[in-house]
Symmetry: C2
Subunit: 345 residues, 2 copies
């Protein structure tokens, strides 16, 4: 860094997450002396505004990371695999939003509210978890700290923006033209495409032999890694729904000790600074994605004690998948490192 | 009945379910000598086609059930509470699609594939279960018969048509006019309304003090009653999604004995006549509501063995909520009774 702040690069700047990284970094109190926006040749030349300046996207090359202190990556796993090590070798700290390094035991997988303490001055590469996992572990943390967690079972209601800007265009096209042929969802890299308008699709990412999708396995493995407890049994069913922004998660947790009342859990979440409680059944208050898009926080509601098992509770989590699920969490990792003197020389 | 068949009445004939009862009865091999369509004064005079005749809706009165052998009710709980006993007293067998009598211990709650055996020649009033419950218990039955069931945990993705035709109009209005103010969903009888387009709403029916909604409690209680086992622990999280027809259910079942492989469950469902297996991950085959609307069957897919617990499995159920979830199941109850000589004198 120079006297005025960090020299920052954003790789994948023209994508849905990249653009939100620019906006989030813009409003976060992280000193930035220069911003380099990087993308494929196709996006080079596009102009974005950052702190009252215009920044032109440059084509990503091996020389893009000369004089960079901090690089955010969100351009797909293969780009990260190739260029993140180059950025690190040139002295940058890399915060990677792809799945490329998440399960590497050497690489910290970080949600600042949960496990920022594993970051150190030696950390050069940090993985940003899967969008659904982030909001889940933020809500699990106060429960883990208070009761311990035996198992977690979730069904997700995931927004279309999680599949990128093109999936959002596809949704709009389907809404206006019922003969529009889908070409993106459920997952670009698979072979068959289905409509998302007026539909729900129980497939996100490709299938594994076990019958689970990769997205589901990510939620399972990453939750265990972030909570640093491979004894926690996790299950996920990941489903795409016709919502633009905001993932919702129907969550069942078996705690290690019993809960006496529903109010006990409501109080716990109310006192937790890292979640926003939206649970007032007398006023039909609960979190919903349409009404919470473009918000930073993780919202929790629909809290219930299981009717049969005293250690089991159920609740509902909503967060913006592009912000807390991706861009914001990455910037928050950088902000934590900045505040704690872990960035720069 | 007379020589040509049963004298049938449909109460609530102009509603979403009522119109589907007319169409379903039309194509089912149940002899009908006369059809009386009944509704509120507002709908009287409307004309529907049935087996090449036109039938005019009459206003429902206490005299509507003279000379009726079989009456289907789907006009709301208060209408059933008032008129179903009148119909029974005049000699009709009543199949009621509302929640009015479902939890009455004297009244059979029937999904023919699961518990038609409780019907007898003395049965005069039969309750048709909640839409989500029906498709759930059809899929649970082969598991119960083979392994026994300890617990069931579901998260639903319920279609808008479950809230009636007006909710469908509201959805269309929201899609074309983003300033349209909702007045129906989540539930007409509650006080605050939310948009369903581009949203998911984790409330169906009103709230109970426990934090559960009535819809969730219905699924819990009715599942136990139909499976005739109040030892089965059931949990439900019921969510409305922007889908017109077809409820989807993400289902976790803890069996009483272990499952060795995912294929064991796939084979079981494949051999079960009452469900249609749609589970081929190599071809991205799984049930989705948009592609299965207006179908009679209950579809099952996304079958997985839990990664940690050998008695736990997960799967995904889709069925048309207006057909198998309501109109069709009612007609199937009548058809079973007809075939087994339980209807008429």
């Amino acid at each position: 860094m120079d006297q005025r702040g960090y020299r920052v690069a954003i790789v994948g700047a023209s994508g849905e997450v990249g653009r939100n990284m620019i906006e989030t970094l813009d409003r976060y109190p992280i000193p930035v002396s220069s911003l380099r926006l990087l993308a494929s040749k196709r996006s080079a030349g596009k102009v974005y505004s950052f702190r009252n300046s215009n920044v032109v996207i440059e084509e990503l090359t091996e020389n893009s990371f000369d004089d960079i202190d901090l690089a955010f990556f969100s351009a797909g796993g293969s780009v990260s695999l190739k260029y993140a090590p180059i950025a690190v070798s040139k002295g940058a700290v890399v915060i990677d939003n792809t799945s490329a390094f998440r399960m590497d035991p050497e690489i910290p997988l970080v949600v600042p509210e949960v496990n920022a303490h594993i970051l150190s001055k030696e950390t050069r590469l940090i993985a940003n978890p899967n969008c659904s996992t982030i909001q889940l572990v933020v809500a699990l943390k106060p429960l883990r700290d208070r009761y311990g967690i035996e198992s977690v079972n979730v069904s997700t209601y995931q927004a279309i923006s999680g599949a990128g800007a093109k999936a959002l265009y596809e949704y709009d096209a389907e809404l206006t033209d019922e003969n529009h042929l889908p070409q993106i969802l459920p997952t670009r890299s698979d072979e068959i495409y289905y409509k998302i308008a007026h539909n729900v699709i129980p497939q996100i990412d490709v299938f594994m032999e076990s019958g689970y999708t990769k997205e589901e396995i990510k939620m399972i493995n990453e939750t265990q890694k972030i909570l640093n407890d491979d004894g926690i049994k996790v299950n996920a069913t990941c489903v795409r729904v016709p919502v633009r922004y905001g993932h919702s998660i129907s969550t069942t947790v078996k705690l290690k000790s019993p809960v006496s009342t529903r109010m006990e859990i409501i109080d716990l979440f109310e006192q937790c600074e890292d979640v926003v409680l939206r649970d007032d059944i007398s006023h039909q208050t609960y979190p919903m994605p349409l009404y919470l898009q473009h918000r930073d926080e993780v919202f929790v509601g629909r809290i219930r004690k299981d009717l049969f098992e005293e250690q089991v509770i159920h609740f509902w989590i909503v967060a913006d998948n592009i912000l807390k699920g991706a861009a914001l969490n990455s910037v928050q990792i950088a902000y934590y490192m900045h505040q704690n003197g872990l960035l720069g020389d």
